[in-house]
């Protein structure tokens, strides 16, 4: 859907533009009064007579009954201003005429012209243009697909090296390759997760299993490497891992993620960090969680990068926030770099982990707004 173009014609009451039917003399004043939505503003209240309207042009008639100068705003999600009237002195009335596409908005009175204002929800019904019409969003899908292709290629290469090292009984080499191969997996995990049973076959943790379930995948071999320190019987598991990875790669390269799925994937990757990597649950034997952490963040950033042109158009301020917070996460993580890789999770202090957790939370909140932005308005 195209970004609704702002059409905010501010007019003093006297100069009100009669855009819609002025009912003339038919059945009282119903038609005339229903055209305009009255807003009674005071210093502590904002009474909006109706909380919904139809798509198209809506007129708000704002009466300032308080003692302070006030303002009236209509916001789209993310606090994008769709229309505003400023400087409504006490005792005065003003009108705001604004064109709104179907969607969910907020109205706000700002007595004293300060702060976030007194907000109310406002819903506009009607038909919305289909998402695919947006060329920039379509481009996002194609760009991300290219990213997935590059990552899946490396995933197969590195998983093959890892599997060969395991089958060759080279424990040290296997240990070194384990977090490297997983990096490519973790970057595109939202794609992988869309293939139901393949994801657990490749990535199930021991704690995820139910009684009687056969354990396969990366973490089974991780335990062989770090706990049993014996991979002499790990050959079949290694072969199975490579076969499953190849299957999922084939599938991943045929799937097209919608812009909303991209946005949700970007958030999902950070949720993975918050729930699994910060806690050290992901790589409980090897403690290489920070590799997965970094890969999740990189994958999240790649999805946002694909959406970037569309986001720039819809909400440049959000893009700026996301840039700053991605940079902040990277800087916080960088403190734990160790050569080409990362320090082990169990060497980080509780304070280190709290800092990383705060950083991920700070990034995840604005990212959680992206899906609605590309979906709706």
């Amino acid at each position: 859907m195209r970004t609704p173009r702002l059409l905010a014609l501010v007019a003093a009451t006297a100069a009100a533009v009669p855009l819609a039917a002025c009912g003339g003399n038919d059945s009282g004043s119903d038609a005339a009064s229903s055209d305009k939505i009255t807003v009674d503003a005071s210093d502590t209240e904002c009474k909006v007579a109706s909380s919904e309207s139809d798509a198209g042009t809506t007129t708000f008639a704002i009466a300032n009954k308080g003692n302070k100068v006030t303002e009236f705003y209509v916001y789209a999600p993310g606090d994008r201003v769709m229309g505003e009237v400023e400087n409504i002195a006490p005792g005065l009335s003003r009108e705001l005429i604004v064109e709104l596409a179907a969607g969910t908005y907020e109205t706000a009175c700002k007595p004293g012209m300060i702060g976030k204002g007194i907000r109310n929800a406002f819903k506009v019904s009607g038909s919305a243009a289909p998402l695919t019409e947006d060329a920039k969003l379509a481009q996002a899908t194609a760009d991300y697909q290219r990213y997935v292709k590059s990552q899946t290629g490396a995933l197969i290469d590195k998983t093959t090296e890892f599997v060969n090292a395991v089958k060759g009984g080279d424990i040290e080499k296997s240990k070194a390759l384990f977090p490297v191969a997983r990096t490519y997996w973790e970057r595109i995990e939202p794609v992988a997760e869309s293939f139901g049973d393949l994801d657990p076959k490749i990535d199930a943790r021991e704690a995820d299993l139910e009684a009687g379930q056969k354990w396969t995948g990366f973490h089974k071999i991780e335990k062989d490497l770090w706990v049993a320190k014996d991979v002499s019987k790990s050959g079949p598991a290694a072969d199975q891992l490579l076969a499953d990875v190849k299957t999922i790669v084939d599938k991943a390269n045929t799937v097209t993620l919608s812009p909303v799925q991209l946005a949700n994937g970007s958030k999902g990757l950070l949720d993975e960090v918050a729930t699994g990597k910060i806690t050290g649950e992901e790589d409980t034997f090897s403690h290489t969680d920070l590799w997965d952490f970094a890969a999740n963040v990189e994958g999240s950033q790649a999805a946002i990068a694909a959406l970037r042109p569309a986001l720039e158009e819809k909400d440049p301020a959000l893009v700026k926030t996301l840039d700053e917070r991605f940079a902040s996460v990277e800087a916080a993580l960088e403190k734990h770099r160790d050569g080409d890789g990362w320090k082990l999770h169990n060497t980080l202090s509780q304070t280190d982990l709290k800092t990383l957790s705060d950083e991920i939370n700070a990034l995840s909140e604005p990212i959680s707004k992206v899906a609605a932005l590309v979906a709706g308005q």
Partner: protein
């Protein structure tokens, strides 16, 4: 979305958080800013004083302390504005954001977390305070730090855990429904992501003080009435003298505010429970049944510290809690106490991890809380049964008269 009427407490538990169509009490998204004025159990958010101080103490507490993690003053001020707007809504029984838990776009996370849908305002108050650590070089506030906000001294016997203490900003959420209080803190914490980080928080139940003459004196977990001699909302002259910061006391931004001290006091319940009634009453200086001072008969009888028993011993022991804490032996110092009981489950030794989350408001903690606590820490026989494990000091600015103001404006502007 239709505007919904608030229903009383009676319906709340039954309705629960079902679909939007049957939401009972909480005003959902479409309600106007004024609808909540009708809510019967609503405490006014706007006013010259912050609510939650002399407001008759509600039954439940969720207290939270935050560290500010941003270096950007503008981001902090913006968050305080968002907090204020959300607090005005939630204390009116509305959802944290205008779109609410179910009124937004399906692709967007809801702007309210939803667990209070169907619940009334439940008397919710949200009270903000600023801790000493906020006044460092980060935000240029060094010059605005009140002398009264100097760190509390270490008292004898303190076993304070720094991780459970202090904080740059605190919010005291009090309500008559624990879910409403938790909902408020949860939503503020969420709004603050990236700007603040929760340092510690505490749930409390069973208010341990009455802050109005209309309230009966409650009991703490030692089983004794607590706060009989508390400052009360009706005592305007005393409140002006002991509670509210006066012009000239310190920086102007705190005039009309009050200083908040919190102390998490772990009670060693099991040893107390096997102490004889006689000893318990001697330690406290009041009887357990009525709460009367050992020198008198009724709860509100003024303690007579000179009264002697037949053997010439004081009826109220020299080191009884009621004597040590009494204004007459502390230069007239009084505080408004607003504490809550807490039980954080059990510890690894099978003992109740329980006690008192002490909260006091005063005009100057160094002239009120500190001298009283110094005396108690040195002499109070109760010390054998309690441990102070957390400590907090916060400057709570005056109230917000109207929606054009926000928490901390007088400090940051």
């Amino acid at each position: 979305m239709q505007r919904r009427k608030v229903i009383g407490l009676a319906g709340a538990g039954v309705v629960g958080a079902a679909t939007a169509g049957v939401v009972g009490g909480r005003l959902t998204g479409g309600g106007s800013g004024s609808a909540a004025a009708a809510a019967p159990d609503r405490t006014a958010f706007y006013g010259t004083r912050q609510a939650g101080i002399v407001t008759p103490a509600q039954d439940r507490l969720h207290f939270v302390a935050f560290d500010v993690i941003t270096k950007d003053k503008a981001a902090l001020v913006d968050m305080l504005q968002s907090w204020t707007a959300a607090a005005a809504r939630m204390t009116a029984g509305q959802e944290a954001g205008a779109l609410g838990a179910v009124g937004g776009l399906p692709e967007a996370p809801p702007d309210d977390t939803g667990e209070a849908l169907g619940l009334p305002a439940a008397g919710l108050t949200l009270t903000i305070g600023f801790g000493p650590s906020l006044f460092d070089s980060r935000f240029g506030l060094r010059g605005r730090k009140p002398a009264a906000l100097a760190d509390l001294p270490k008292f004898p016997g303190d076993t304070i855990d720094p991780a459970l203490s202090g904080g740059d900003i605190c919010v005291q959420a009090c309500a008559n429904d624990p879910q409403v209080a938790v909902h408020a803190v949860r939503n503020l914490a969420r709004i603050g992501m990236g700007v603040v980080s929760v340092r510690w928080s505490q749930l409390g139940f069973g208010r341990t003080s009455s802050t109005s003459t209309a309230q009966a004196t409650p009991r703490n977990l030692f089983g004794f009435k607590d706060g009989t001699a508390n400052l009360k909302a009706e005592e305007a002259t005393l409140l002006d003298e002991h509670l509210w910061v006066k012009p000239g006391d310190g920086p102007d931004w705190m005039t009309g505010g009050s200083y908040l001290v919190t102390r998490k006091i772990r009670m060693l319940i099991e040893t107390w429970d096997r102490t004889s009634l006689l000893e318990q009453e001697t330690i406290v200086g009041r009887n357990k049944g009525e709460g009367a001072p050992l020198s008198g008969r009724g709860e509100y009888d003024e303690p007579d510290f000179t009264a002697l028993d037949g053997k010439g011993e004081p009826l109220i022991a020299k080191v009884a809690h009621v004597r040590l804490a009494h204004p007459t032996v502390n230069g007239g110092a009084r505080m408004l106490r607003r504490g809550y009981n807490f039980v954080d489950g059990s510890d690894g030794l099978g003992r109740l991890n329980a006690g008192l989350f002490f909260i006091s408001y005063q005009r100057d903690p160094h002239k009120q809380f500190v001298p009283v606590q110094s005396k108690l820490a040195r002499q109070d026989q109760l010390n054998e049964y309690i441990r102070h494990v957390s400590s907090g000091l916060f400057a709570c600015p005056p109230g917000i008269p109207a929606a054009d103001d926000y928490w901390g404006r007088s400090l940051f502007a």
